[in-house]
Symmetry: C2
Subunit: 221 residues, 2 copies
């Protein structure tokens, strides 16, 4: 029999945390060591109380510092604790983004109740875990590559947006036009145009509306 698994939960909705804690309390191998309502709280917690948690359950959408920011922080500071993303979104692009940032598991809120305990035990054991529906999508995306279920590679990055492209994308969602964006970012209009074009190409959308919808779906705004 192994030791208890210590867990930290982060979600901006306290009610969700309450739910998760209620579920996790039903398992004697798991112990909740704290929770956070913002990404900033998470990083602070892990700075001050290192090694008090083995697994972090992390929501993507949080104020101040979001899940992506937390993952980046973990990666940068080489924090070894396992992270499981708990998300409302089952967009494959998000999942891949999170994977590339080093998360070890990804479960959707739809079926968190059923799978969260299994997910925690799996990643605590050094393996990766994904909700069945996520797994299905990942496998579909990877069709052609030889991978077995449950052991997905981390080394497939999505066509990541550069910093500048992200800057432009964010301003587009604010209804800025090209010249306003150029002014705001102190760039030439041609430059902003270039970024618009590369955004359209990378995200495979038709127009600015497509960019905005992508940004919303992927919680960039």
């Amino acid at each position: 029999m192994k030791n208890k698994i210590y867990v930290h939960v982060a979600d901006d909705h306290k009610i969700v945390i309450d739910g998760i804690i209620a579920v996790l309390n039903t398992d004697k191998d798991i112990e909740i060591r704290g929770y956070s309502l913002t990404g900033k709280e998470v990083t602070t917690w892990f700075e001050n109380d290192q090694n008090q948690a083995d697994v972090l359950i992390l929501d993507i959408t949080m104020p101040i510092l979001d899940g992506i920011g937390v993952l980046k922080y973990f990666k940068k500071n080489r924090i070894r604790q396992k992270v499981i993303i708990l998300s409302s979104y089952d967009d494959i692009k998000i999942v891949q983004e999170m994977l590339s940032l080093g998360c070890k598991g990804y479960i959707t809120k739809n079926n968190a109740g059923e799978h969260i305990i299994e997910a925690i035990k799996t990643v605590a054991n050094g393996e990766q875990y994904f909700s069945p529906n996520i797994q299905r999508q990942l496998l579909k995306t990877l069709a052609g590559q030889q991978v077995e279920e449950g052991a997905l590679p981390e080394n497939f990055l999505i066509d990541t947006l550069t910093d500048r492209e992200l800057d432009v994308l964010k301003l587009i969602t604010k209804q800025f036009n090209t010249s306003e964006i150029a002014d705001t970012l102190n760039l030439g209009i041609s430059t902003v145009d270039t970024y618009r074009k590369s955004l359209l190409r990378k995200l495979k959308v038709k127009n600015a509306v497509g960019l905005a919808m992508y940004a919303v779906k992927n919680k960039i705004v």
Copy 2:
């Protein structure tokens, strides 16, 4: 001492329901009589088991039939049970839309834990209840009208979109351009242009991106 308040909870995320139930179980005056994961389940439940619940806690975002659909169903079938919207969104337009559809309370998921019991008791008592942050926004919007806190009027509708405008808006979010929309709806290009213009005017946005963002925020798509 009054009787127990019977409550039904609807949210597409089971984990949220678990959280709400956990919170509500701490109050002896409240009893949960069931829950639903889709809007369709809600209407079915209220068809088969009338009067088994006094208050319905309703999430806006649900598959099959969303919260708006449920409210419309309630209104149409003159179902008298009180509805409290539990939402992630604090957009004032959504709140007003919900109010016009007859909901009696509106709380955000951010502070549901603190206010949900108070909200249930308030609406069960025949009054309206809003999260403090929502109340603040409503009052700001109503600035100029004479209303006291906690007793807000139901009779202020937003500048409603017509059916055709909604048709066009939905297609815009799908990245259709004007001529594609015209083809799809069997309209002339000029006509679609007219709707685009009125959408921009009514929703007070600058461009198609603004329309798309509005549609997303207000769960039109």
